[in-house]
Symmetry: D3
Subunit: 277 residues, 6 copies
């Protein structure tokens, strides 16, 4: 059950409107790694945590709830960046080149569809979608996905920070960038904790290693004529999981045959074999 | 530039056809964390690597090229699991309950659209899409996304392994599970290497920390009445990045005001303020 | 800013697991008119309400926050309906026809992807998407969309109620159906209030009627040889908006010409006119 | 069975080409509430009407058929707005700032993909999709969705009207705005008719009210610390459906427990409980 | 401008309801090559035909209008295949294995969302989308796409014909299959006509051949160690377009360098070169 | 199994960066008819070819593998067109109108998401998706789809060629245009070969013609009051398939009744018939 406090957790006030920046900031709302993604990802993961792992459940629901408030801050920011945009006679306005660049570049749905408000979409206008998130029930796998999301998210927020001089927008981004910083530390720590408890770093840790092809579980296959990849620490030495030693295979062998699948039944109306055509 | 060898890298031969398993195996081809995702993700990342990082470029292109061959193995497996399925008078066949369950449960597009072949789609039939992948130009962020993908991918392959008794299908899954195992080690190692070189674990490492809100960069905000999350190692002690100490905030304060945005211009035809209606 | 209470607002406990019903219940989570839709729709509308309409802003955020808790109840319900589902050797299990029907019919991603938890998707598995929602900044238009959503949502919840005998599932659905009942009343009332204040029922009420083609604003055009549609109260008499009288036009006239568009520039490489080919 | 008359029902001739306006007008073709949506929505609803409701069937098919002609008018308008656009050496042309704004802002697929013709997409370029429409078989629910669509649609057409000075484009929009005006009246009237006949305003009217949680069917739950929402006519007094009296609940109680779901079977490879890790 | 005749152009009456077949028949409505695709593809192509090509415009609009009637026939067929399906207590009904297979296999949205009517979606439930169609303004390119669509469409209709014994369903499919047969002939003929008029078979025929790399315009590049592809008539002899002679290149040479792209500006926060990390 | 050669097959070096052209070139990477489409389409078709048709299998895999290299060339081109784009203070930079047009018009995800690299998306930013491709198992149908794809693809590449003066970009486009030229010849030839072998041009050739409605398989139905379409060679004379003679039907008759479907069961809660309301 959720409750709402009308205050923004942090301020979201640009000094000046800027419809083009409004379009770009949408990436942090409804992009692949925007706040809708992390909010929904943490909440769905949290709702799926089973008895005996209440600590992780509470953590996920706390952070997911925090992220809902980030969507709110960003939606407020977008509305303010669009403040005062008038629709009057835009084709007239286009005669001024500077205005033209703004009117030509802004997200037309901010004017036509949402009435100068945020959209549940990214900086291009692609709608957010459920398949951006993952919740697998395996927390070690999921925490790695969370670390990935916070890393990509912070890269994007930092790029937006570089793009703007507006002190108000920068203030808000400085908050989001700091929280992404904490969340990276958080998931790194939670991953470390789980890896130690589960006694392995290879997810899922509960699968019997004897059932996988252990003989091919440590080799870098070189699929090219180039050998730069051999120079990395992933091509020799002990693995970070401590389960073996890396090796390098210059010419990956093949075990499989050239595949041949019998013709399908006539009722399927696929192309018959050459000799029956 | 790519070349193709007609041999499968590893064998892909089920002992028996099984149209329902064909539907499920599709998850590993065109799902969010299927082989189309990792192949395209590594290739796009590789194509984007800039001068001075040839080692990472070669690595990404080697592994991306390997994954193309995994799609091929899985596509062959799906075609063979569908071998011999006849379309004749299926409503007649439905009178046998066991057959009915198979015909009712199989992916209808395997029969109607692809002629008993694999589809570029997941186990439900959702088409694969470009937004499943990420390539940000920031390799540390991207390698974390790669570790996430290999972790989720191995979880899914392991679940399919549990679902089947077919020795041929299990043999192929044992290969994929082992390669996912190597790839997890690989990306963990590459992450470690980059974190050491870049001297930080907080992505992007190149952003000036003084510009983020450092005062809120270490706190777990408790957004609920529950305090289980306080028990984790992410609520006190040094951070894994070594950049500070975790803290726990029972009642997250707010800094923002209750947001108030002025009415929009008349030309937008939004609802006017209550006193002007 | 949001807060979370660990309690479910209402109970979500089925008496028996049922993986097929788990698939169907997903429609209420991630379908076009599921709880993700109404939660996000009300929140985005609320975040966009401008100064002077605080009453509507508070209302939208209250109800949007309530709906977040409904996603939570439904996600819990789905996890419990999936409780105990084992992946072991499903192809063996398929030999029993009753089991086969369940295994053939259940959502395969519930097993392979989400680890027996809810997905942000509908009863087919289509991911939820941002384009399911609308927030236009015009509250009268939006409240009508909200009434539409609650009407479609209650129809779907009622159909699920009919499909099941499980007392626990029915208890939860009885809650959702009652809340949809309140929400229909709520939006009807808010619509009435706004229509009265704005002095018109034709949205947007602020557009100067003299600018529209008033001469064609009251006619039912008969686009067929059938005339049953003439029998409705929409073909004669005063309009519900009280702005004129309905009429019926048996053969809709045309004003436009047969359109003819000049050939495009050569650089476009469209097909040339017949006489230049 | 459909027939086509080559004449446009209304004229669709802009005075001047304008590639940027062409991009924006696309919202009315392939947007969430564009003409493809209402055409397909009314046709699918009409095809689903059952025996005994011929009047509604004829109505839906008449209006759906009218809307097909609106797509045609808009597609013609877009082609004419794009008239004369040359692809020659656009990077040269970009040196003139005014031209640059147009070339930078126009929809690139209008040039590259459709050869200066309309696309089945919105003003951003998102393709139209079947999930924009609803046809539930429950006409009262569906007519409310139709009223919602015509309300959102007219808001968007009005905004486009404000954006342009072109008399030809305004003439066509004045037609669409007038028809949206009629269609709002039409669906309001049809809703009234059905509500009266069915004897209830709560959709579906055929569900036995005793089966829903009637005790919670009239309350506004306040999910925040703010109480502005209490001021609305939806918080006290008789409901518009006349089925009870509204009430206001300051602190919504919870009935549910803190949910706890047993660990899943080992074969799923979810994270084990803390004490078994 | 469109008109509607209430009669179905051809009958659409199955002898028996069959909810599973209803799901499968959806492929012909809203699939990639279903009737929504061809209807919208021909109409958008027709609306885009320019002055001087009226014959093609009329043709496209005639056939597009015919296809609208095919959607209608199929939607009627689906509703009748779903006739009489009751939602009552489906979990009870699941105890009978034959019923279970049907209830487990049918499209749940046919029950929950559309009230036993057709959906604008394919046999899996993926919504139809605008990006299934193409209208390029180049009629020769588009007629080839039309021939492709009618070929794929007829393959799918034939497969459905094989799946059923129902005489009523077969009668309707026999109509669609025959019309697909005519439409294949039609587009082949129109392609031939245009190729002759335009004096070339290589689309677009208006591009100056001197501007393409004519030296590599006739070679089959062998990208594998296998040489079966050399056996085709596409590897030697005159081309069907009569513009040259095919050749076979066993080892495709490369002209390009190993690509090297300079590091991006610091503000982008991509990974720095190895020697600057 | 695939191998990679680090060299680009052909050079991909623009003379000057151009972020707007980078956006447009994306159409050839991830558009409906871009290189991702043809690569995946040929590979999936190739993987599905059955025993006895090795020649076609090898051909499809050779060409599919070639197309993978085209994605690589285009991705390299896009990165170079974006070379040197700085994110610094873009709102400052917007004060120069020429710069503003570029910054307003470029794809914001090229800056924010991909770090100045290519995206798996089209010129608008719509992500590539699996449903762009077709692989039906019927090679004659599929080769026609391939010819369609190469025709649309070449039209698009030619339009891009016209848009640019950059000699480096033109050199690469001249390569792609030439290869599309070969591929059109290739698929035309393969189609001719298969049509001859299968003894028919109507796909699928294996369906018994006696089962289709042969009486309606040769008629152009005129669905309008216009008769221009009668002038085409598709309205009389022998069909290109040689299976009959075309005819023209001025007023298409109807065979079907006005459809009437009985009311659905009460449990569905659809609208009842008029006389039961």
């Amino acid at each position: 059950m959720f409750l709402h406090d009308k205050h923004l957790q942090f301020e979201a006030k640009p000094v000046n409107p800027d419809p083009l920046m409004a379009k770009k900031v949408q990436e942090l709302i409804g992009g692949q790694y925007g706040e809708m993604t992390v909010a929904m990802q943490y909440l769905f993961q949290g709702w799926g945590v089973r008895a005996g792992n209440e600590k992780y459940k509470d953590l996920l629901l706390d952070i997911g709830t925090e992220e809902l408030g980030h969507i709110e801050m960003l939606a407020t920011m977008v509305a303010r960046l669009l403040e005062g945009t008038s629709l009057d006679h835009q084709e007239e306005a286009m005669k001024d080149p500077a205005t033209a660049a703004v009117l030509g570049g802004m997200n037309p749905q901010h004017a036509i569809v949402s009435g100068l408000n945020a959209r549940p979409a990214d900086s291009i206008g692609n709608p957010w979608q459920g398949n951006y998130i993952i919740s697998s029930g395996n927390l070690l796998a999921d925490f790695r996905s969370n670390l990935s999301a916070e890393s990509q998210g912070r890269v994007q927020a930092v790029r937006l920070y570089e793009m703007t001089n507006d002190p108000g927008l920068r203030d808000m981004l400085a908050v989001l960038i700091a929280r992404d910083s904490y969340h990276q530390n958080l998931w790194m720590q939670a991953i470390k904790e789980l890896e130690e408890k589960e006694g392995s770093k290879i997810v899922p840790t509960t699968f019997d290693r004897a059932q996988q092809r252990e003989d091919i579980a440590f080799s870098l296959y070189n699929h090219s004529q180039s050998e730069e990849s051999k120079e990395g620490s992933w091509a020799e030495g002990e693995t970070p999981a401590g389960d073996g030693h890396f090796s390098y295979v210059e010419k990956p062998p093949f075990e499989g045959e050239i595949p041949s699948i019998p013709p399908s039944p006539k009722s399927v109306h696929n192309t018959l074999p050459e000799d029956k055509l």
